[in-house]
Structure formats: structure tokens, C-alpha cells
Amino acid sequence: MAGVAGAAPSPTPAPAAEPPAPKSRGLAARFGRATLDRALALREGSIIVVTLITAVYFTVNTESFFTAASFKTLLPYFAPFAIMAAGEVFVMILGEIDLSIGAMYLFAPFLFYKLNTAGIPSVIMALICCMAVGFANGFFVAVIGINSFVATLAMLFTFEGLALIISHGTPVTTPGTPGAVIGSAGHLNTFAEIFGGGTYSELIWALAIIVVLQVVLTFTRWGLYTVAIGSNKLGAAEAGVRVKLVTIRNFILCSVTAGLVGIFEAVRSGTVQPDPAGANEILFLAVAAGVIGGTLLTGGSGTVVGALIGALFLGILKEGLVLQGVNADYLLFYTGLAILIAMTVNIYVRRVRIGHGGG
């Protein structure tokens, strides 16, 4: 790791992680190969290095990056994607994808608002509805056999549309936030503090969810079967893994995390915005965070912690570029490049890790 960090940071930070890979292959010495193997044994290895380099680069090149204030503005850039990506990772490891998380992100807070006006315990009910949507996703994919991209794209449109219908395209004030509680303007109640309103609320949720889901993925049968299905669906079924059940379960998990993030963000900002474009951007950033973090879209391999770091990388990239005074028009451009580079590195890492080509 030290050797990589020593490399001079280039203007675009991400490419710096690439050099070590081809070089060691050229040397091909058994010793070097073994050392590299060990370094890359961590799925998150490459993205940790890339993220560190990015952070160091911005710390050196901007005055205000490494400050508490900057950290606080960074939080909402990455905590939401990290949570959504954590759920998405469970679907991606299966070799599927869930695009409907964008719709859950948009739909859940409106549902929360509507239920709350009706006087129903609303967060829980909204999340239960998300679970139902997740179940439907899993059902269409695992039982009916629709390709997950198509099935969840349809669900994305359906539920974003439904969010627009029930909101009449009008923003509303999030229940429980200062704007909604008369006489408490400027003061957050406990509910809002916990569900996204507090400065560190989303960060704490993100860390807690990621720890729990990583443990589930690595140390439980559920996680083992998830990897098994993504790696060899037929084989897993032949061994007796209940493929449909696990698939449906993972889609439910994915929908719930997205709905939860939708509510957090609504509480944090104080309003529920009927903005499908924003929701779609969050959806793709969440998928990107998972992929950058080392989870394969082709399935069979993935990490929740990697998704957190992937989200952190995207957050740092955005925050750093903004602080550096980069024209906002360039942000998407750099994000796109960063994802391409991260994927190239990941595919190489995978080859080394599973011993592609024998040896």
C-alpha cells in the first residue's frame, strides 16, 4: 500500500491506482505475485487506495477540504448512497440489479406524509409498503422470470409515477420536521433528530446498517447463499439452496433500505420533493458506489463495506471538486471517468483473486 501511495497524484485522482497491477504482472516473479495476491485479497483493497489518494490529493490542493465544516457537508453526499448501495449490493451479488430503488427513494417519503396525515404510524407502514414492492420485484424476477433490469425499470417508472400522482407534483413539508410542527420552528424534535435530521444521524445509520449487512453477508447462511446463487445459480439450486426465496428476500432488503433513505433525506431537507430526476441520480450513484466498491454486476462477488467506501469516494470526489472551484459542469464528467477506471481495476483484481488462467 505504501508503494502505491507514494505515486505522484495525477490531476484526475483516480488513475493513480492503476499502475501497480500491470507492472507486477510484467515482473511475474513468484514472490511479487504472492505479495500482490495478498494485498489484493481484500476485495475493498483497490478502492481504499483510490479513496485515500483522492482524499490526500484534495487535502493538499485545497485549503478547506480537511476541515470539520467540509466533513459535515460531505456527509449528506455519501451517507444516503452508502445505505442504498448496501442494499443494492445484496441484489447485485445475485447477478441481478434493482433500479426501482430510485422510485422507493421518491415514493416512501410521500407515503410517509400521506399516512401521517391519516394518523397512521407512518414510517413503519411506509417501509412495509416498500417491502411489498421489493417482494413484487423479487417475484417478477425469480418466479415469473423477467430480467431484473427490465422488471425493476418498470417498477421504477410505475412508482415514480405513483409518487407524482399522489403528490400532484407538489412538494410538501415533511411531517415531524420544524416546518411542520407549529411553534417549534428551528428546533428539531427527537424523531427528526433520529431519522435523518441530526447532523450525524445518517452517518450513524449508514455505519450501523453497513456493519449489520456485512456481517449478514459474510457470516450467515443468507449471505453464503446470496454469493452461491450469484456465482452458480443452477449449482446452488442443485445443492438445495432455495434460489427464489433468497432472491425475493434480497429484493425486499434492497427496497427497504431505499425507502428508509428517502425518508431520511426528506426529514433532513424538511420537504418532500416530487423530483424523479433527482431520485434517478441517487439511484445511479448508489449502483455506482456498489460497483466502485468492488461488487460485480455479473454477480457472485461483492462487499457491503466496499459500497460504503465507494460512496465515500464519490462523495469526496464531488466535495473536493466543488471546493477546488471546478465548474459544476465537470462534476458528472469526472464521476463518469472515475467509475470507468474503478471498474477496470476491479476486473483486474478479480482475475488475480480467483486465479484466472490457472497458476
Binding site: 447462511r221 450469484g230 442443485e238 445443492a239 439452496v241 457472485g300 462477488s301
Partner: protein, 283 residues
């Protein structure tokens, strides 16, 4: 396939056969996949402690039969009996609960998982009360089991994708042996194996046979292997059992003869079908 050209000169074993010490009996099993008839009327029995070799051409229905017995697929008609009782497996897990373990032709190994996770897939050891995987225990037990079986896998915590074809096959076989099952179904356990590794598996089966605790159905291609390892041989042709004999009463020559005849008949059948097609009906 009722309108197949008739008069195939096979004498299929259509009547169910049995022995007093049968652990498994399969009667009148039929299975179609759309227009394809995989099994027409299969009758088979397996005695306690017996090693039954299952032969047959590619596509004869051997794997289908195995998958029906192990609960992965369901037959269209026919019955199965396990230790004298009616046996209708609902799933692979259900069959496993009845003591039936399977090595599939495609091995059903999970490339991304370690050797020991593959060995214990669906039979994982977990801690209580939190259901976390007891990885250390599984590693230890996997090591012991592989040593007992006599399969040499240098590292059991690497992904099985890193193993050679023969080693993978060995893991798949070890998975069934390292269980409480008393009936093993092995679908081509020697495919993809070198002579040395194949010998290892045959030795293992020989040892299991001597212990007489398990009964084995084994799909094989090599007649020499069948005659050397199995107690009895059954051959599937055209979805029925065309031959069912103790290996002591048959020979490589007889088995070859049957297959040569099958090829001849297949050619004749093809001609007949062509003639039919030239007529009014299409098959």
C-alpha cells in the same frame, strides 16, 4: 411418442424388479420435457450396500433419473419407494433429509466459495443462539473429512475456482461422502478426471462398498470401471431400462454389443421416421 416407429427389437425390463433388501425402488417413472420424452417407463431397484452402475447413451435419461430421485425434478408419473415406504421428495433438501445425497454432472460447485463452504453447502455448521457460520469448526471438520476420504487438497480456504478439474470433482464427491446420507447418487463422478484422480475416487467407492453402510447409484461411461466397481449394471435406452444384470454375469463385450445394436436401431429408426415424414404425418 406413441407414434414412434414400433417394433424396436429391445426387450426392456418393463416389469418392476425388486429384492427383499431394497433401499430404493423406482417404478414406472416417466418424464417429458415438452416434446422430448426423457424417461418412458423406468423400473429400477437398489439393494442395501449395493453399487449400481447406470449406463446409457448421451441423452438417454440417466441424469434425468438421478435428478428425479434426488428431488430436483418431479416425475410426470410413476412411484418411488424408499426403504419400503412411498417416497415423494419435495425438494433436494427433502431428499437429503431422507438420506439421499447427489453429485451432479455439473458438480454444483460454487466457484466463489471456499472449499469448506462448498463441502458444507446446505449443511452449514452455525453457532447458537446467533446463527453465525461456525467457519472454524467447518474448516476443521472439512480437513478431517478430506483426510479420511484420502483426497489431497492443499488449502481448504481457497475458492474452488482455483482448483483443478479433478480436485473439483473430488470435492463434489467428498461433499456427498461427508454426510449422513446412506444413498449416494453419483452422476459421472469420473468426468474431467485424470487416471490417477479417477483411481482415487474408485478406491474411495471400493472402500465405501466394503464398509457396506451406503448404497450407491453411479452413472458411468467406461465399461471397465463399471465391471470393476459395481455390483450390478443397468442400462437405459430410449427411456427404459434395457438391461439389468449383476456385473458378474455380463462383460465388456455384451455391453458393447448392446450399444452397437442401439446405434444400428437408431439408424433404422431414423430411416423409418424419414419414410413416415415423407408420408402424411409429421412426428
Amino acid at each position: 411418442m406413441a407414434d414412434r416407429p414400433p417394433a424396436l427389437p429391445v426387450e426392456p425390463v418393463v416389469a418392476p424388479v425388486s429384492a427383499p433388501d431394497d433401499v430404493l425402488r423406482v417404478e414406472h417413472i416417466a418424464k417429458r420435457f415438452g416434446p422430448v420424452t426423457a424417461l418412458r417407463d423406468v423400473n429400477l431397484h437398489l439393494r442395501k450396500g449395493e453399487v449400481l452402475g447406470l449406463l446409457g447413451d448421451n441423452g438417454a435419461g440417466k441424469s434425468t433419473l438421478i435428478k428425479i430421485i434426488c428431488g430436483f425434478q418431479k416425475q410426470d408419473s410413476g412411484q418411488m419407494f424408499l426403504r419400503g415406504e412411498s417416497y415423494e421428495p419435495k425438494s433436494v433438501d427433502d431428499a437429503r433429509a431422507h438420506g439421499i445425497e447427489t453429485v451432479y454432472q455439473d458438480l454444483a460447485l460454487i466457484d466463489e466459495l471456499s472449499v469448506y463452504h462448498n463441502l458444507f453447502l446446505r449443511r452449514e455448521r452455525v453457532h447458537r443462539p446467533l446463527p453465525l457460520l461456525a467457519n472454524r469448526q467447518m474448516k476443521r471438520e472439512a480437513r478431517v473429512a478430506l483426510n479420511e476420504i484420502g483426497i489431497n487438497i492443499p488449502r481448504i480456504d481457497v475458492a474452488v475456482a482455483r482448483l483443478s478439474g479433478g480436485q473439483r470433482q473430488a470435492i463434489a464427491v467428498a461433499r456427498t461422502v461427508n454426510s449422513d446420507a446412506d444413498i449416494l447418487l453419483l452422476d459421472e463422478p469420473l468426468a474431467a478426471m485424470g487416471a490417477k484422480e479417477g483411481g482415487m475416487i474408485l478406491d474411495l467407492i471400493q472402500r465405501l462398498k466394503e464398509e457396506a453402510k451406503v448404497s450407491i447409484v453411479m452413472v458411468l461411461h467406461n465399461y471397465v470401471h463399471v465391471l470393476a466397481t459395481c455390483d450390478r449394471v443397468a442400462m437405459i435406452q430410449d427411456g427404459v431400462i434395457a438391461l439389468d444384470k449383476p456385473t458378474a454375469e455380463t462383460s465388456v463385450e455384451e455391453l458393447t454389443e448392446i450399444v452397437v445394436n442401439e446405434y444400428r436401431r437408431a439408424r433404422e429408426a431414423a430411416h423409418a421416421e424419414e419414410a413416415l415424414r415423407a408420408g402424411t404425418r409429421s412426428p
